[in-house]
Symmetry: C2
Subunit: 362 residues, 2 copies
């Protein structure tokens, strides 16, 4: 069997604080079946990748504290393919760790970096886009990102402006990455057709990744270069524990992608959501004819209730009367009732709770 | 010590279905601390009576199934003073049973009949009114009822029309009992000054009660008369099991009070509520400056929330945003969110639940 040089790294370190109280520090969003389809987000992500990437080439990276959840939820994943981060340092150190580790295993690897907690609805288009990316990554010294054609002027996403390519290789040169815009600007982006949503899914050959770190984050590169002889040996954990203390807290977007000049975007056709808000989850979920998304409608009875998102324990009887556009979340230890229009305030409630009650319910 | 002829019977057989999901078949309203003051309604009722009636003269009557709750909540009550009903037959059989049983113990007894699940805020006035009643009951062949001066044209209560007495004995002749009126009629009653709320608290000497049953419910009287030799003996339970099968399902109001011509009403000055609705409970409870009554505000955080009634488990963290005039009840196994204006529909939700889910949550 020919060596397969295509690898994937699933990033599973997020704490999903916007989905409190469903998502908790100890059990964040990626480990939850937020869509209510019988699979958690990380399980869906893994199953999407294992369709076209050999299981031994799929890695999951995340905090040490999530190792047991990863093992439990992905039983086919080999223990050696779980990469534990000793600290939360945002995505640049996380990608660097994965790149250095995998390049030491296979210096020809083409590497897909994917979040664990997004929803992708049409796997076929996803596979198509990633395979295009792998082919380009193998032959060109480029970093690739998947861009989603906007379906609305969303202010919750980053945008990628691109320049239409003359080639017919499925990728276009990125002009700029733009952080979450105002509504006015989002509407311009949406109308112009030159902008795609930044899905945070990246592809590159490890040699290209290594050069990019060396060029744009040389101090970070220096930290990880020191470990060349430790990766994939019993010394790795010890080396990484020290290395992470030296790492800056920077995202891969800011640290590398926005600076690199050799970034291409592949416009992808799959339906995608980063599930960054309750409203985005509500959009994704199956709803009754009154617009209510209920995680378990067996024991939930609604009266004069419309456009609500109701997530409650399966064994609980729930009667909701007279709510329109509300989020109702019951997790046994926490009950939250909040108007969807005010969901941006949930982070304030969480910080009130941290201040007044400590971390018990977070 | 002179024999004290004053007795009280606390009726504790109600199932409090209007307070679902807080009140359940197995644990109804009278056994709950609905006011959140550290005492259940039946405990408050008992403590009010034991101030001026000897504990050995206080009886509690209710379904066999509540015997353990009565024992548990009223540890000072002697086991012999718990009267168990073998079936739910409304209040006429209940009062008859108590009257026949107590008259066989003490044929001179003056008997107060009081619900277990009402709220009375000013004990001093209650004691005053009942003592007036006992004195009259002892000396006159009358049945007495306590009437509450209306503070609003409430359509949830029965009314008592009376004729101002020339005597200065604190009681007036009852002209008519009126069932729950329409708002228009309630407003007339309220304005006229001739009507009092019927608090369902009755006083009479057992001899007067016996004659009233004989006269107005002769078939019921015949049933209980048969048991004269069984009351307060080991045969009582057996006799009553058979007797209850022969009893009609009638209230004491309809069976006796509305028919008797020798009924007097004592206008009482205490604040009173039958706690017949969530709104009436909300009125009684302590509220924050935004009108929210929260059973345990330690762990309940409200934002933009007004005029709500929130009752949740003490150990649960609750965040409520954006509700006005809602009832939020979480009992661990049931969550109900309902607009106060629609609380009359709760009985429909309960019957939907009975139909679709059986009695598990009732």
């Amino acid at each position: 069997m020919a060596t397969n040089n295509n690898y994937a790294v699933i990033m599973a370190g997020g704490i999903g604080s916007r989905f409190w109280p469903l998502s908790r520090n100890r059990n964040p969003k990626q480990f939850l079946d937020v869509l209510g389809i019988g699979k958690t987000l990380i399980q869906q992500t893994y199953e999407r990748l294992v369709q076209f990437i050999p299981p031994e080439n799929i890695y999951v990276i995340g905090s040490e504290q999530y190792k047991h959840l990863i093992k439990e939820q992905l039983p086919r994943l080999h223990a050696a393919n779980i990469i534990s981060e000793p600290a939360r340092k945002n995505t640049a150190p996380c990608v660097a760790y994965a790149v250095y580790k995998i390049s030491s295993l296979n210096p020809e690897a083409n590497l897909l970096i994917a979040p664990s907690d997004h929803v992708i609805m049409n796997d076929r288009f996803f596979v198509q886009a990633v395979e295009t990316g792998f082919t380009l990554a193998k032959h060109k010294e480029v970093l690739l990102t998947l861009g989603i054609r906007p379906t609305r002027p969303d202010t919750g996403y980053g945008y990628i402006q691109y320049v239409e390519s003359k080639d017919d290789d499925g990728a276009h040169k990125v002009k700029t990455f733009v952080e979450k815009p105002t509504l006015e600007i989002a509407e311009q982006f949406y109308r112009s057709g030159d902008y795609l949503w930044n899905a945070g899914i990246f592809i590159g050959n490890v040699k290209t990744w290594l050069r990019a770190f060396q060029q744009h984050m040389p101090e970070l590169a220096d930290v990880f270069k020191e470990g060349r002889k430790s990766f994939n040996t019993p010394k790795e954990a010890n080396f990484i524990a020290n290395a992470y203390m030296l790492c800056p807290n920077v995202s891969i977007d800011i640290g590398v992608m926005e600076k690199a000049r050799n970034v291409l975007v592949i416009p992808a056709k799959f339906d995608w959501s980063d599930l960054g808000t309750w409203t985005s989850l509500h959009q994704m979920k199956e709803k009754d004819y009154l617009g209510n998304a209920v995680n378990n409608d067996q024991n939930v009875m609604t009266y004069d209730t419309t456009n609500c998102m109701i997530h409650v324990p399966a064994e609980k009887l729930v009667v909701v009367q007279g709510l329109d556009g509300f989020i109702v979340i019951d997790t046994n230890d926490v009950l939250m009732i909040c108007c969807k229009d005010k969901e941006q305030d949930i982070k304030n409630y969480v910080s009130d709770i941290r201040r007044k009650k400590g971390d018990k319910w977070l």
